[in-house]
């Protein structure tokens, strides 16, 4: 009689600066399916992992913001291509985590791909659409245009674990911001797999950094961090909101709350181009005329 094969359980790691480190704390957590079965393990990020992720995001920010809009669009489109290529992997990851039927999971993955393509198209269009030439009462050519805010923390809601994450990240990074993303707490594995796909999609290291673990533990530190310029909060939690807004007052972080019901992430309202404007700064220039 042959012995049964031992299962190879994976430990999903963090994604920081284009690399996949373990948590510096050495901690990990078991990932469970909706039905309670032990699936795999994943890294339990600490405040120091968050600190490292912000350093990585900050050092990537300059280069990413200087990249041409055209190039950023190509890279986001490439991410969509890679996602398409590995859609099956994500479908089974979502299905085994949430207990969704394969058709449901496939719908979520397909929408995530479409949303990346949608936002890839916005990289070289939002600036001209959301810029303006302003009438002024002096001999100046006066114009206003958006520039990236800098390092943005994105908190994903628990569900839909993949689609909400993609819908929150894309409008942040397309304008030249870099992101530190806190994944779904209940279903972190689809997000971790998404990070593994991003790593092979030409996105420069540090533009997207992904942490898995417990939000409540990280939130006070990301709220008070002086090098975080904006927070996009998709969790819909009132307590987290209070902490995040309190901390935002320290260095005037932009705080944006995206309260969508799980079903709403599948609707058009979750691909709103105006979301891009929540993480840009407007610059107005006065150019002298007739000199």
């Amino acid at each position: 009689m042959s012995t049964p094969r031992l299962e190879v359980k994976k430990t999903y790691k963090l994604f920081i600066g284009g690399k996949f480190p373990r948590s510096e704390s050495g901690r990990y957590l078991p990932a469970h399916s909706a039905a309670g079965a032990h699936l795999d393990n994943y890294a339990h990020a600490s405040r120091k992992d968050f600190r490292d992720a912000v350093v990585a995001a900050r050092s990537a920010a300059g280069g990413w913001a200087r990249a041409t809009a055209y190039l950023r669009g190509q890279i986001l489109y490439r991410a969509a291509e890679m996602l398409q290529n590995r859609a099956g992997e994500l479908v089974s990851e979502i299905a085994r985590s949430t207990g969704a039927r394969p058709a449901q999971a496939r719908r979520e993955v397909t929408l995530a791909i479409d949303r990346l393509v949608h936002y890839a198209g916005w990289t070289d269009k939002f600036a001209q659409i959301f810029s303006s030439v302003n009438p002024v009462a002096s001999p100046h050519f006066n114009f206003t245009m958006p520039e990236p805010t800098g390092v943005v923390v994105v908190l994903a809601p628990d569900e839909p674990a993949l689609l909400a994450l993609v819908s929150l990240i894309a409008p942040v990074i397309l304008s030249g911001n870099t992101a530190v993303v806190i994944a779904s707490e209940t279903f972190p594995l689809p997000a971790a797999t998404f990070a593994e796909i991003l790593a092979t999609s030409d996105l420069p290291g540090g533009v997207v950094n992904l942490l898995t673990g417990q939000r409540a533990e990280l939130v006070p530190h990301l709220a008070s961090h002086m090098d975080v310029n904006a927070i996009v909060d998709g969790t819909g939690s009132a307590e987290l909101q209070a902490t995040l807004q309190g901390g935002s007052a320290v260095n005037l972080k932009r705080y944006t709350r995206r309260d969508l019901k799980a079903a709403d992430w599948f609707a058009d309202k979750a691909e709103d181009p105006y979301w891009i404007l929540d993480t840009v700064e407007y610059k107005t220039a006065w150019h002298p005329m007739g000199v």
């Binding site: 900050r58 530190h221 961090h225 002086m226 090098d227």
Partner: protein, 313 residues
């Protein structure tokens, strides 16, 4: 070409070159031991004390072709008071500039500043110039008001085996320095092996260097922990043999507070507390100071800081 010895004049027997007997360096063990210093855990008050000590040991450096008197004045201001007084941070040890910028630095700092002026000289960074012009450069730089001269050795001469010439050049430079302190830059990134680093360190110390320094900052790799450890052990052996305390200055590539603390731990555990003073240990850096200040503020404000709120490096 005039020989070095002719420019130096007559030196006593003890100041003539004798090839030093140096131990061979075990590469594996040096690297393992150096790596061990990065594992020490410094927390709360000890960490804060270490961070402030590191600031007091910094030679705030700008060595670029585009340096201006304004940039040097800015650097001097930062060295005298790195951050608001409420954080209790000491001034930096020195500013380190090119010879032409010594005068503006002296004008800005005044005659009795706690912040010293160090100048690189002797054909920095290559050292591939005639000894006569190198010595003239040193004399003029000292006359302009430099407290310390950071000389580069002629690595070409060292690697060609002309150790006596290297020794004589250092001795001649020391003489030209007069009262100014002499730091000898070995440029370890070009010396290839740890054995060479050890031999060059011994020659530099015997020839009269007050400090030995790893790098110019123009060559990669610059300062590393293992290379600094080799030099610290050379300093220790020199102290046991002669009773003379030589200083150490790692320079280049030290950018984070964490790295700086690892260097302090290494100095303490290799040479002891006597060397934990700006008189005997310096760090050549520019952006490091910003990170040190960010960590110091983090200790008292208890949140992570951003470079946006600190002076430029």
């Amino acid at each position: 070409m005039m020989k070095a010895s002719a420019l130096v004049g007559k030196r006593p027997e003890s100041m003539r070159f004798h090839a030093p007997l140096v131990p061979t360096i075990d590469q594996i063990m040096v690297e393992e031991r150096a790596n061990a210093f990065t594992k020490r855990s410094l927390k709360t008050s000890a960490k804060l004390a270490g961070l402030k000590m590191a600031v007091s040991m910094c030679d705030l450096t700008t060595l670029e072709g585009k340096d201006t008197p304004g940039k040097v004045a800015y650097l001097c201001r930062k060295a005298v008071q790195p951050i608001e007084a409420k954080y209790g941070v000491p001034p930096c040890a020195a500013v380190c500039v090119y010879p032409n910028l010594v005068k503006p630095a002296r004008v800005f700092l005044g005659p009795n500043s706690p912040v010293k002026i160090a100048a690189v000289a002797t054909g920095f960074p290559s050292g591939q110039y005639p000894l006569r012009t190198k010595l003239e450069e040193v004399r003029r730089t000292v006359a302009d008001g430099a407290d310390e001269i950071d000389m580069v050795i002629d690595r070409g001469a060292f690697l060609a085996g002309e150790h006596a010439r290297m020794f004589d050049e250092i001795a001649a430079t020391k003489q030209a320095c007069g009262a100014a302190h002499l730091k000898v830059i070995l440029e370890t990134g070009e010396l290839v092996t740890y054995d060479n680093v050890r031999l060059a360190s011994d020659i530099a110390m015997r020839a009269g260097g007050d400090f030995i320094k790893t790098s110019t900052g123009k060559v990669s790799p610059a300062a590393t922990l293992p290379v600094t450890l080799v030099m610290l052990e050379a300093i220790r052996d020199h102290f046991f043999a002669t009773g003379v305390r030589i200083g150490m200055k790692p320079a280049g590539g030290i950018r984070t507070a964490k790295q700086a603390l690892a260097y302090l731990v290494m100095v303490k555990e290799t040479l002891g507390d006597d060397w934990l003073t700006p008189d005997l240990f310096r760090i050549g850096a520019s952006s490091l100071v910003t990170d040190l200040l960010m960590q110091i503020v983090k200790c008292s404000e208890a949140n992570y800081q951003a470079a946006d709120y600190f002076s430029l490096p």
